[in-house]
Amino acid sequence: MRFAFTDDQLAFRDAVRDALATSCDRAALRAAAESATGRTAKAWTALADMGVLDALRAESEGGLGLTEVDVIAVLEETGRCALAEPVVDTLFVGVPLGVVDAPGSVSVVAPESPLGVWTDTAEAVVTLAADGMRVYPRAEVALHARPSVDPARRLFEIAMEAQRPPDRGLGDVVLAFRRMVLGTAAQLCGLADTMVTMTVEYAVDRRQFGVPIGSFQAVKHHLANARTALEFARPLVYRAAASMAIRDREAGLHVGMAKAAASDAASVAAKAALQCHGAIGYTTEHDLHLFMKRAWALSAAWGDARWHRARIADTLMAPTESRGS
C-alpha cells in the first residue's frame, strides 16, 4: 500500500500549475468570460504543448501512455484556477478514444442532459446514451446557445439528424461517463481549495471591530468546516482515479463516492467563502464569483451529490453481499 503520488506525478502537476499560473490567471479568466469563445486559448495551447491533452493516448500512438491516476492532480489544478476549457472531455475522452487530436477539443454530452459545454469550438460532439456512444463532427450537429450563470461556460443544446446506430459500445459509454464524473470531481477539489485559500487571506487582512475578522470564532469555524470537508473528499478522488487506472471492478462506485464528496466539499467552501467575504464577495468586481459559479455548475454536472448517493444506496442496500470496505 502506497497512497501517494509519485515524484513524476507531482512534477507533472507542478509543471501544469506553473503553466496555468501565467496562462490562466484571473485576468485571463475575466477575458475568457468576455470573449467570443469563453475559452482561455493561451492556457489550452500550453496544455497541448506540454502533452497534457495526449496524456492518456497510447505511447504507440504518440501519447504519453498515462492513466487516470497520473493526471488526477493535474485536473485538480485546472479546477484550482477555474480553467475555462473542455479539458476533461478532451483529455479523458476525446483524445484517448481517438476522436480528436490535440489541440482539437471535444464536447461530451451526458445522458441526463441535452447540454454540451464549449461545443461551438469543439471539433466533435460525443454523446453518451443507453444504447451506446455516438461521435458527430461538429458540422453535423445544430447548436442552440444557452447562457450559463458562469459566463465562461458556453452551453449549447445539441440537435442532430435522425437517430443513427451508435459508433461505439456501452463499454466506452461507461468508461467515458466515469471519467467525466472523476475529472469533474477533481476540478471541484481544486475550486474548493482556492475558495478556502482566498477567504483565509481575506479574513486575515479584513478588520472589523478593531480585529481581523478571521479571529472571530464563527469565521474560524466556517472555514474549518470547509477545509475539513476538502480534507476528506480529496482522498476519495485520488482513490477513485487509482481504481479507474487498474480497472477495479468497483471503480464505478468509487467514482460516485468521489463526486458526491467533492460536490459537497465545493458547496460548503462556496458558502463559507461568500459568507466570510460578505458584501465584497457578492460583487463581480471581486474574483470569488469566478470560482463560486464554476463550483455551482460543476457540483450539479455529471450527477450532483444526491444523485450519486442514490445510486450508491441502491448498490449498498441491494440484497447482495454488502460493500463494507
Partner: protein
C-alpha cells in the same frame, strides 16, 4: 385564539387579489436593478400608488389607506402570490419611512413621504462604508458644519447602497462631531443625490445587475431641514430602522409562502423519477418553515397589536427568513439538476433568486452578528 380573518379583512384580500390579477405586468418586468428595469418598475410603483396599494399601512394623507398590520400582511401575501414585481421603492418605504414617522418633523413628513410612496423620489440606504460593514459604528464619512449655507457639507464614501445608481436620494449616518468616537457624534442625514459634490459609481452584483453603488461625497450639501432627529443622535435614530430591517417589514412571510408554493409546483411538475426522494423531505421541511414564519409573524403581530414593542427576537426572524430563502432556492436548483446553471428560459428565475437570496445572510447585519444578538439579548449570555 381566533385564526380567522374578519369579513372586512377577507373583503380586502379579495379586492387586492382581483386588482393584482388585473394589473400585475405580464410578462414579468426585467430586473429592477438595471437602469432600464428600474424605470419600468417606477411605472409599476406609480400604478400601485394611484390605486393606493403602494403603502397600504400608511395614513391616507401620505398616500396610504390606514391599513392595519393584518391588512398589510394580507396585502403582502396576495402581492407575492400574484407574482407581482419586486418593490424598488422598498428601502425607502420599509427602512426610512418608519424612522420619519417616528422622528421626522411634520414638514419632513409632508415633503418626503408622499413622493416616496409614489416613486417620484427614490431612496437608497447609506450605512456601510469600505471599513464599516458589520462594524457600522466605525464609520468615518463626515458632515462639516456650514453656517453660512445653513446646513452640512459631506465628505467621505458610502458603499453597498442598493440601487444607489438609480435613486434620487440617500439616507444615512454621517459623523458631525469629528472628536466623538464610535456610536457618538453621528447624525442621520437625508441627502439629495442630484447635486454637485456627489459621484455615484455603480457596482455589479453576482447576477450581473448594477444593484449596488458606491457614493462619494465631496462637499455635497445637506440643508438643516434634511437632518432627521437631533444632531448627534443619529445612532439611536438609525437603530429604529435597522430594527425594522431585521424584522418582518422588509421580508414579510408572503414572499416565502409564494416561493415555497412555486417550489412545490416545480417538484410536482418534475418527472417523479427525477425528483430524488431525499429532496421531497427537504422540500416539505422548507415548506413547513415558510408556514412557521407565517404563524410566528401572526403571533408577533398579535402582540404588537396589543401594544407591545418589537424586541431582539427580530434577530431570530432575520436569521430564519434569510436562511429559509437560500434553502428554498437551493432546493429548486437541485430539482433542476444540470439545467440549474441556465440563466435563460422558464426556470432562470431560480438561479437569479438564488443569487439574490445569498445576500440575505450577509446584509442587515450578518447572521453571525444576529446570532450573537440572539445569544446576548434574547438568552442573556455575556457579551465578553
Amino acid at each position: 385564539m381566533d385564526l380567522s380573518f374578519s369579513p372586512a379583512e377577507e373583503t380586502f384580500r379579495a379586492e387586492v387579489r382581483e386588482w393584482l390579477a388585473a394589473h400585475v405586468p405580464n410578462p414579468a418586468l426585467p430586473s429592477g436593478d438595471t437602469r432600464e428595469g428600474f424605470g419600468l418598475h417606477l411605472e409599476w410603483e406609480r400604478t400601485l400608488f394611484d390605486a393606493r396599494y403602494a403603502v397600504v399601512s400608511w395614513p391616507e394623507r401620505h398616500g396610504g389607506r390606514d391599513a392595519s398590520l393584518w391588512e398589510w400582511l394580507i396585502f403582502e401575501e396576495e402581492y407575492w402570490l400574484a407574482g407581482a414585481p419586486q418593490r424598488v421603492t422598498q428601502n425607502g418605504i420599509f427602512l426610512l419611512a418608519p424612522t420619519i414617522f417616528e422622528f421626522g418633523t411634520p414638514a419632513q413628513q409632508d415633503h418626503i413621504l408622499a413622493k416616496m410612496a409614489s416613486g417620484e423620489e427614490t431612496w437608497c440606504q447609506g450605512w456601510s462604508e469600505p471599513n464599516a460593514g458589520s462594524d457600522l459604528a466605525s464609520l468615518t464619512s463626515r458632515a462639516v458644519r456650514d453656517d453660512a449655507a445653513g446646513g452640512w457639507r459631506l465628505r467621505g464614501q458610502k458603499t453597498w447602497t442598493t440601487r444607489g445608481a438609480f435613486c434620487t436620494h440617500l439616507f444615512g449616518l454621517f459623523r458631525t462631531d469629528a472628536e466623538a468616537e464610535r456610536h457618538r457624534g453621528l447624525t442621520y442625514l437625508l441627502v439629495a443625490l442630484d447635486q454637485p459634490g456627489i459621484t455615484v459609481r455603480p457596482v455589479e452584483r453576482l447576477d450581473g445587475d448594477e444593484g449596488f453603488a458606491e457614493v462619494f461625497f465631496d462637499d455635497a450639501f445637506v440643508p438643516d431641514d434634511m437632518v432627521l432627529g437631533d444632531v448627534g443622535a443619529g445612532w439611536s435614530v438609525a437603530m429604529a430602522t435597522t430594527g425594522s430591517e431585521r424584522g418582518l417589514t422588509l421580508r414579510s412571510p408572503g414572499r416565502f409562502l409564494a416561493t415555497a408554493r412555486k417550489l412545490v409546483e416545480l417538484a410536482r411538475n418534475t418527472p417523479s423519477e427525477s425528483v430524488d426522494p431525499a429532496l421531497r423531505d427537504r422540500i416539505a421541511r422548507a415548506w413547513i418553515d415558510a408556514e412557521a414564519y407565517r404563524w410566528q409573524t401572526f403571533w408577533t403581530v398579535t402582540q404588537l397589536a396589543a401594544g407591545r414593542r418589537a424586541g431582539p427576537e427580530a434577530s431570530m426572524v432575520k436569521v430564519f427568513w434569510s436562511e429559509l430563502d437560500v434553502q428554498l432556492h437551493e432546493l429548486a436548483l437541485q430539482l433542476l439538476g444540470p439545467n440549474a446553471e441556465l440563466v435563460d428560459g422558464e426556470h432562470a428565475q431560480w438561479m437569479k433568486g438564488y443569487e439574490f437570496s445569498l445576500a440575505g445572510p450577509i446584509y442587515a447585519g450578518t447572521n453571525e452578528i444576529q446570532r450573537n444578538v440572539i445569544a446576548e439579548r434574547v438568552l442573556g449570555l455575556p457579551r465578553k
